[in-house]
Symmetry: C2
Subunit: 270 residues, 2 copies
C-alpha cells in the first residue's frame, strides 16, 4: 500500500475553477454558470499520485484515473469501478457505510466536494440535480454492463470489453510535455504538431492504455498473467498490435466488438 503524502491545495493560481477548465465531455459543463459557481465555492482540489488512496466520497475527477479499491480479508485486491477524467464521483450510500476507497491508478487531480454542501447545492439547483441523476444512471448502467462481463465471459472477452471501454474515455495527452504545458508546448515544431494531429485523428485505432496491466487484471477479475496471455491471443490473431507496453493498435475493431459481445466462449460451451 503505497501511501504517499496527499497534497491538498487550493487552485495554484488562486482563481476559482471555471467551467472552461473542465475536461471535454464533462457532464458538469452542462449546468448554468451560477449553479457551477455555487457548487465550486469552498471546494478543495487535491492531487493524488499513482497508488495513493484518499478518503473522499464525493468529488469530480479533473484528470487521471481513480479506481474504487476493495480487498478481501485474505488480501486479494480488486477494483470494482473505474473513474476517468470528467466524471462525478459519489460513493456515499445512505443505508450503510461506503465500501471501497478511491485509489489513484495514475496521477490524478480531484475536486473534492463537501458532501453536505454538495447536497445543499443539489437541492438548490434543479439543473445540477438533473446532471447528477444522469451521471449516476450512466454509471449504474456501466456497472451493470461490467457485471455482465464478469458474469460469464472468458478472459479474452473481458479484455476486449475493457479495451472498448477505455476507447470511449477521453484520451489523455500522450506526451508529457503536452500534459505539463500551461500554454504552448516547448519547441512545438511542425513535426510534433503533426504527430499531435495523428494522435487525435487515429484515436479510432490507437489506444493508450490508461492503467497498468495489473490494474486491468484487478478490474476484469483475472490474474495479470492471464491478461498478458489474452493480449498475446488477440495479437496473434492480428486483431490488435502491441506497439509499446502501454500503447496498442486496434486493428480489427469489429472483431473486438464481436469478441467483447461473447464471441469467444469456452471450447465446449453449451
Amino acid at each position: 500500500m503505497t501511501k504517499a503524502t496527499l497534497s491538498k491545495s487550493r487552485r495554484p493560481t488562486g482563481r476559482p475553477l471555471q467551467r472552461s477548465d473542465l475536461p471535454s465531455g464533462a457532464a458538469l459543463a452542462d449546468v448554468s454558470a451560477s449553479t457551477f459557481d455555487d457548487l465550486m465555492r469552498a471546494v478543495e482540489e487535491i492531487r493524488m499520485t499513482r497508488g495513493e488512496a484518499a478518503p473522499f466520497v464525493t468529488g469530480f475527477l479533473l484528470s487521471g484515473v481513480i479506481g474504487v479499491a476493495d480487498q478481501a480479508s485474505d488480501g486479494r485486491q480488486m477494483l470494482s469501478a473505474l473513474f476517468h477524467a470528467g466524471e462525478l464521483i459519489d460513493l456515499r450510500r445512505d443505508a450503510r457505510p461506503p465500501q471501497g476507497r478511491p485509489v489513484a491508478l495514475t496521477d490524478a487531480r480531484v475536486i473534492v466536494f463537501n458532501p453536505s454542501r454538495m447536497d445543499a447545492a443539489l437541492r438548490a439547483h434543479p439543473d445540477l440535480a438533473a446532471v447528477w441523476l444522469s451521471e449516476l444512471r450512466e454509471q449504474a448502467a456501466a456497472l451493470r454492463d461490467h457485471c455482465g462481463d464478469l458474469n460469464c465471459k472468458t478472459p479474452v472477452e473481458r479484455l476486449a470489453a475493457a479495451l472498448l471501454e477505455f476507447r470511449r474515455w477521453p484520451q489523455e495527452a500522450a506526451r508529457k510535455d503536452v500534459l505539463n504545458a500551461n500554454g504552448a508546448a516547448p519547441s512545438e515544431t511542425s513535426a510534433e504538431a503533426a504527430e499531435g494531429q495523428d494522435v487525435a485523428n487515429s484515436a479510432a485505432t490507437v489506444l493508450k492504455l490508461p492503467i497498468l496491466r495489473n490494474h486491468i487484471a484487478e478490474y476484469i477479475g483475472v490474474q495479470p498473467e492471464t491478461v498478458s496471455r489474452a493480449f498475446r491471443t488477440l495479437e496473434s490473431e492480428r486483431i490488435i498490435e502491441i506497439e509499446r507496453k502501454d500503447t496498442i493498435r486496434l486493428c480489427d475493431l469489429p472483431a473486438i466488438r464481436t469478441i467483447a459481445n461473447g464471441g469467444r466462449p469456452r471450447a465446449g460451451a453449451r
Copy 2:
C-alpha cells in the same frame, strides 16, 4: 424465452396508488404527499408472470423480483442486476441505448412511469430528486459490491455474499394465502398467526430464497451445478441448513459474513 401476455391495467380498484400501498422500506415513501400524487398521475401498473420480459425502462417495483437480463451472442444468459420490492428502476442511459431488459424472476407488479413525465416530476419536485439520487447512489454502490464479488471470489464466497444480499431484502410473505389475501387471510387460526410471528421473528436466520437457483447462478456468474455444490459445501460445514428447495436456515451468520468477505480462497492462494 417464455413471453407470456403482458397484462397492463390501471389499479384494479380504480383508485390511485397511495403511499400506504408501498412496500415497507420503499424509498418513495419519503416524498411529500403532493409530490407522490403528482408522480402517480397517469402511471400504468403491470403484472408480470415469472419468466416474462417487459420493455419499460423506468418504474417502481411493488412486489416480486425483477432481473436485468442480458445475453451474449452465443446464447449465454446473465443477470447483471436484481431489483426487489420497493426499489426504483431506472435503466436509461443518455449516451447510449440501454443494455439489458427487465425480466420477471418471480411474479411481479410494477408501476411503470412515462420517462418524460417522470423527468418533469423530478424537475418539479426537489424532494423526489433527492430520493431518486439516494436510490441511484445505493444501487450503484450495490453494483460495485457485486462487481467486487464477481471479480475475485470463489463460488462459495459469491453464494455467501448473495445470501447476505437476499437477507437484506424485504421478506415476501411466505404463504400464498397471505400473499393473495386482500383483507384477513382465510381461517386465521392462532396457530397460523403464531407461524406468521415465527416467520417475522426468525427472519434473522430463516431465509426464503427469492429466486430460483438457476437465476442465482446467472447472477453470481457460475453454473447451476456449481451453485448446488456450493450450497452443499456450506451445509456440510453446518453453516446453513437446507430446509426446502427454496428455504434455508442461516445457522452461523458470522461464518457466512467471513466467507462472503473472502474467507474461502482457492487452495493455493497467494
